[in-house]
Amino acid sequence: MSTPSKFNLSDSTGLQLFSALVIAWMLLFAIPTQAANTPTLKLFPTTVLEDIRHTGSVAKEMESGLQEVISRLDQQQQLIIDSKCEEADDDPGCAQLNKQLGATYLEMLNIMESNLPTMEQAVETTRKSLAKRLRKELGNGMTPWTLQENLLGGQSGKQAAQTRPSLRGRSGMRLSDRFSQYYKLVSNSSSSQGSSMAVIASDIYLDMEETADLIARTRQEISRATLMGQLNQSFGVITPEMQEVVSGVKAILFGDPESEMPIAAPPTTADSTAYQSPLSL
């Protein structure tokens, strides 16, 4: 009695078909697995992009309303300094200048008061949506090691590193221009540039934190100034607190050229012929 063959012709064809399917299946899943080594960051979905664009528009409206009054405030303050009014409290001319300065300061606060709620809402929305993405993608979705691999652009991300956009930092330009630049950077960049996206997202988020803080302080100052105005009808000499608010508003809206600093210029690309140790991580 002969032992029956394990496979007849039809079994063999079935095996070949099965093998082909297995190979196809493996190929199908091998490609995404390779790509998964350099994870794609989803830091800027459409909703976040729209939030950034909207915040830029709101900032532009606020700037145009404030530009003239802040410029007047600067001129009046300079006039007080030039007239040496700080040492002449009893001089009627100086008293008049101080009163004008106080009135302009109130005017600035009033303009801000009418614009701030919209601005605050826009900033808060952008801040929250970015926080959510950062937490999900970089905070919970990455280990420290994958984070630095991502910042370096992965092992094979040299081409991406060469095309990284540069970011000029959080200060040194108008708030609306900053948002316009952020929007362009983010909307024009492909998802392959995940590393620089992490830096840009972090930069915008920290910018939002600072802006939100300034808005909160400014709103407090408006309340205080309104109370003072009701009590005194005049501010007299501009106080250090008032000066701080004016400086803060100017810095965040119109930029502070002295603190310009590039944050994320593209790094030098490593030489592809450089020695690679078997110990390299």
Partner: protein, 181 residues
């Protein structure tokens, strides 16, 4: 009488043998002096010879000396020499594979061994964010030594420097976001 002579001879022989046996030990102890000179290849060769014998406990001193010698003649090829030396150290049982990797990457790679871990950033890195960054700053000094002073690889050093700055920014934002639940 003869037996007395034989006894004395045996005692003398034993004493001489014992003294001669003691002689070899101080020579070995004195040999555990890290190599001198300025030729890295010769120094590596001598180090391997010493370390594979009784001087293994002096590994750190030998490595430090080799680095000093390499600093006197910085060139890209030094990176490979240190890689080979560390691999040999692992094979000779002086270092674990992990220790060899850690030393090599601390000095000669752009990536930071101070920024490692198996858990996510919110739970692992953020609670000790300042400590991690301080460790990275210290590691950058070692990278300056390995990449610039030993290997003359300034572009890699600049990448490491920029990576630290970017990590600082990204961690500040990410950790703030992690805490903003």
């Amino acid at each position: 009488m003869n037996s007395t002579k034989a006894l004395i001879s045996a005692a003398l022989f034993a004493t001489v043998s014992f003294t001669a046996g003691c002689d070899t030990q101080p020579v070995k102890a004195n040999a555990c002096i890290p190599p001198q000179g300025y030729d890295l290849d010769v120094a590596v060769s001598q180090s391997k010879s010493d370390l594979s014998d009784v001087c293994s406990f002096q590994f750190d001193a030998y490595l430090e000396r080799l680095m000093n010698i390499a600093e006197s003649d910085p060139k890209p090829a030094n990176k490979e020499k240190f890689s080979e030396f560390l691999l040999w150290s692992n094979q000779a049982g002086l270092l674990s594979k992990q220790q060899a990797k850690s030393i090599y990457n601390r000095y000669f790679n752009v990536k930071y061994v101070s920024l490692m871990g198996d858990y996510n950033n919110c739970s692992l890195t953020c609670p000790k964010q300042q400590e991690v960054l301080a460790n990275m700053e210290r590691e950058l000094l070692d990278k300056e030594r390995g990449l610039v002073k030993i290997s003359r690889d300034t572009s890699s050093y600049q990448r490491a420097d920029r990576l630290l700055k970017e990590t600082e920014l990204v961690l500040e934002a990410t950790c703030t976001a992690c805490g903003a639940n």
